[in-house]
């Protein structure tokens, strides 16, 4: 097993709040990331994006002139963007379901609610690097694939059954906070045998992820629990 080495990864932070940029930069540098650029609004962020072509973008939502959501939409234009595939982590104080879905539909990879923690940010970075997703292009969407897989060979319990949640979290080291499970957002409630491949790959349990299956299906499920079979 190798520890992930971030030293060759470049990150662009876009946030109008100077203090938050400083915090995120400090965390990234401590993770071993050496190339970190900052922009204080969406317009400057777009300019820097074109200049440096970063490997990952971490952006705030609420910013003057061009906000984070509009900026993501511009970056995800395959005909005009220099890298429409760039992984984007939305870091925001907004936690409303409506906002999260808007971010997902704009093509954000990961959604991280403030307050931020070292572990939560690390796991978002780990997720976009270690588990890259193919992109989907339709007439109305261009962004990371948010469909779930069905595995006919799987014989265990359904993905979001309570037992599955408990089994997974009990075996974990520590809980993470604030993560949204975008993979799950569009799937049907009664779709059995689905596997969240991201969660089986031995990372610590991400217990505060929001499961969009449950949101869309109106299920009564504890929020934020990452689930796996």
């Amino acid at each position: 097993m190798e520890k992930i080495d971030f030293s060759r990864v470049s990150v662009l932070i876009i946030d109008d709040n100077m203090h938050m940029r400083k915090i995120v930069r400090t965390l990234l540098m401590a993770f071993g990331i050496r190339q970190v650029q900052e922009a204080e609004d969406g317009a400057t962020g777009l300019e820097l994006f074109e200049q440096m072509n970063p490997d990952i973008i971490i952006t705030d939502w609420v910013m003057p002139i061009i906000d984070g959501l509009e900026m993501v939409q511009m970056i995800r234009r395959p005909d005009s963007s220099i890298n429409p595939f760039v992984p984007i982590i939305m870091l925001t104080g907004h936690a409303e379901k409506k906002r999260v879905i808007q971010a997902r539909d704009a093509g954000v990879h990961e959604f991280l609610c403030k307050p931020i923690s070292a572990r939560a940010l690390y796991l978002r970075l780990y997720s976009v690097i270690a588990h890259p997703r193919p992109f989907v292009k339709t007439t109305t969407y261009f962004g990371p694939d948010r469909r779930r897989f069905s595995n006919p060979l799987y014989k265990g319990s359904e993905r979001r059954e309570k037992s599955a949640i408990l089994d997974f979290t009990q075996g974990s080291e520590e809980a993470d906070t604030n993560q949204i499970d975008f993979d799950a957002i569009d799937a049907e409630p009664a779709d059995t045998n689905q596997i969240d491949f991201d969660s089986i790959d031995a990372e610590p349990a991400d217990t505060n992820q929001i499961d969009f299956d449950a949101i869309d299906a109106g299920e009564e499920e504890e929020t934020g629990e990452r689930v796996a079979v």
């Binding site: 097993m1 190798e2 520890k3 992930i4 080495d5 990864v9 109008d16 709040n17 203090h19 938050m20 400083k22 915090i23 400090t26 965390l27 401590a30 993770f31 071993g32 490997d55 705030d60 609420v62 595939f85 925001t92 104080g93 936690a95 409303e96 379901k97 409506k98 609610c113 307050p115 923690s117 070292a118 572990r119 939560a120 690390y122 796991l123 780990y126 976009v128 690097i129 270690a130 890259p132 193919p134 992109f135 989907v136 292009k137 339709t138 007439t139 109305t140 694939d145 809980a175 906070t177 604030n178 949204i180 049907e188 009664a190 990372e203 610590p204 217990t207 949101i215 929020t223 934020g224």
Partner: protein, 189 residues
């Protein structure tokens, strides 16, 4: 899935694989193989945040100063347009930042104010006393260093503000379709 949904024709989609795989970038550097979470890196980052935390009180004061100025802007009879936006941005910034800086209660009060300004339409009137109450409470909590749930007065104050704001939002129908996914753990790193 409903029968109606099942009968809808599926939208054509194309699956595209991103040309750049960051996995190669990080694994080449580390000599290949599968990856694991680097707990030491997380620990390093937490220590770095601890070092940074000596500035947190000063940063909060900066944020509160921005909030006060934005609030003064709305006092000049302009509770719409750019003034309102400036007050919203200041409150929203504090909502996002205060928890990380060790003032979760301040963050909650600021969040309540930000919700009022964001969720109510511009033509809806927000009682001035409610706005003033939020701003004064935020300033007082910072002044008294009310950083956690152990300060009962601050907790009660935040609850009162939140209740008053929620009542107004409900009365204006602004809470429809506004479920919030609150993180279970508020972890100030």
């Amino acid at each position: 899935m409903s029968d109606e949904q099942k009968n809808e024709p599926e939208e054509e989609l194309e699956v595209v694989h991103p040309p750049k795989n960051l996995k190669h970038l990080v694994f080449q550097a580390s000599g290949g193989g599968s990856s694991q979470i680097d707990l030491e890196a997380i620990e390093r980052a937490e220590h770095a945040m601890e070092k940074l935390s000596v500035s947190f009180n000063m940063w909060m004061e900066d944020e509160i100063d921005t909030l006060r100025k934005a609030h003064d802007g709305t006092k000049k009879g302009d509770m719409a347009g750019e003034s309102r936006q400036a007050l919203f941005r200041a409150a929203h910034d504090i909502r996002g930042e205060a928890g990380t800086l060790g003032f979760p209660l301040v963050g909650q009060a600021a969040g309540s104010l930000a919700d009022l300004l964001c969720m109510l339409p511009e033509d809806a009137s927000i009682p001035e006393a409610l706005i003033d109450g939020h701003v004064q409470a935020i300033c007082a909590m910072l002044r008294e260093n009310a950083s956690g749930d152990d300060n009962k007065t601050a907790v009660d104050l935040v609850n009162c503000l939140r209740e008053a704001a929620t009542r107004l939002l409900e009365a204006e129908g602004a809470l429809d379709d506004q479920e919030t996914e609150e993180p279970e753990e508020s972890n100030a790193a």
